[in-house]
């Protein structure tokens, strides 16, 4: 087992005062809080920082930890708790980081015990506690969000073992994501969170949806935006063009004399749902990559036929 240096994690000296520890914790908690931070491993950092604070803020736990830090480390930087080790600072759920206590490391549990103690003590006493709600991020491609999909989630879940202690089990959960989920939206799976204690019900699982950027479509709330190039003559003359939508091809009529950046709406072709979004087609005028002698002549003729200065408003 890897030894965790809680002082190093909080960036404080081993003789740091309680207020120094608290201040260091608060600063790091703000930095790594999963609701605030954008760092990829924010949640792991936050748990580590919370665990360090859970120990160092408490005189009794800190004294025990200091003792183990001095004598319990192995030569290779690992850690083995002494065989007859029993913590006097019993750990129980509740308090500042109580809701996350089931997530503390094996290292922490080897010293202070885990919520498993809770399973043991609380069983058979008519005790009931609802399982904790779990939060995860779920990344989807736009196609998956649009059509709905089934995803497999792998989670480490603590649960009461046969001996009444806590054990971690890897759980694979299949999730049916409904069609039309939006970026930043949360979906809930009832009863799929942490296990309840005693006769308490299981917690819920909340999944925050993140939709990966799409090469062509842009999502804004429930509306989809796509930039579609048109030829100069299509823009000048108007007509019907075929455009992509997430649900397949659609035909769109562009008006005569369409300008670059013109936005046209396809009602109800955005993200599905009880109130379906719209799709907006933004037109972009594209030039043919190569000119022929004949096409050059035609453009010259057009220039003579249509007197037009697009830079008039710039005074040039």
């Amino acid at each position: 087992m890897e030894f965790k240096d809680y002082y190093k994690i909080l960036g404080v000296d081993e003789d740091a005062s309680k207020s120094e520890i608290k201040s260091a914790y608060r600063k790091l908690a703000r930095k790594y809080h999963p609701d605030v931070s954008k760092e990829a491993d924010a949640e792991d950092h936050f748990k580590e920082v919370s665990e360090a604070y859970e120990v160092l803020k408490d005189d009794e736990k800190r004294a025990e930890y200091d003792q183990l830090r001095k004598y319990g480390q192995t030569a290779d930087g690992g850690f083995d708790p002494p065989p007859d080790w029993e913590s006097g600072a019993s750990f129980s759920r509740g308090g500042f980081t109580g809701a996350d206590s089931m997530d503390f490391s094996d290292f922490f549990e080897s010293i202070f015990g885990g919520a498993g103690g809770g399973f043991r003590q609380q069983r058979g006493q008519g005790f009931a506690m609802r399982g904790e709600d779990l939060h995860h991020q779920l990344s989807l491609f736009l196609e998956e969000a649009y059509n709905g999909c089934e995803k497999s989630l792998r989670m480490q879940q603590p649960e009461p073992g046969p001996d009444g202690g806590v054990q971690r089990r890897e759980r694979t959960l299949k999730v049916k994501v409904p069609a039309g989920v939006r970026d930043g939206q949360t979906i809930r799976l009832r009863g799929q969170g942490g296990p309840g204690m005693g006769s308490g019900p299981d917690g819920d699982l909340y999944l925050d949806i993140q939709i990966a950027p799409h090469p062509h479509f842009r999502l804004e709330g429930g509306d989809l935006y796509v930039t579609v190039p048109v030829t100069p003559w299509e823009a000048a003359l108007g007509g019907r063009i075929t455009v992509p939508t997430m649900g397949g091809k659609a035909t769109l009529t562009i008006p005569e004399g369409t300008r670059e950046g013109k936005k046209l709406r396809l009602r109800g072709k955005g993200m599905p749902g009880k109130t379906a979004g719209d799709q907006y087609v933004v037109l972009q005028i594209a030039m043919p990559p190569k000119q022929t002698e004949r096409s050059r002549d035609l453009f010259r003729e057009l220039g003579e036929e249509v007197p037009f200065n697009p830079r008039d408003h710039l005074g040039v």
């Binding site: 809080h33 500042f96 049916k176 409904p178």
Partner: protein, 107 residues
């Protein structure tokens, strides 16, 4: 390994929740939610008195986030309200920056 495929519920504006539902699902008491309403952290979608209040799924997500910030960062309620508003603004600005970056690299 679970063989069930549970159906997900969308926590959106179509989900209707009473104060009691909200308290039950967030494991908080009604007084706390009333305070959150007073500080503008959440706003009921309907109803004039707490007994009549109706919240949406998005409000539940916001109450849970508020509770996490309050508990983990020791922020008071005006601070929670401000943090949530700023976090939403940052999220929206990040999204716009990403779009602009994408357009810039495409040109």
């Amino acid at each position: 390994m679970s063989s069930r495929t549970p159906q997900a519920e969308m926590m959106d504006e179509l989900m209707r929740l009473t104060l009691r539902d909200l308290c039950h699902d967030c494991q908080v008491n009604a007084e706390y939610v009333i305070e959150l309403v007073e500080f503008g952290v959440v706003q009921p979608r309907e109803g004039r008195s707490p007994r009549e209040w109706i919240f949406a799924g998005e409000d539940l997500v916001r109450v849970k986030k508020a509770e996490r910030l309050r508990r983990d960062l020791d922020v008071n309620l005006p601070g929670v309200a401000l943090s949530l508003d700023l976090l939403e603004e940052v999220r929206e600005l990040r999204r716009r920056v990403d779009e602009l970056e994408k357009d810039r690299t495409r040109d």
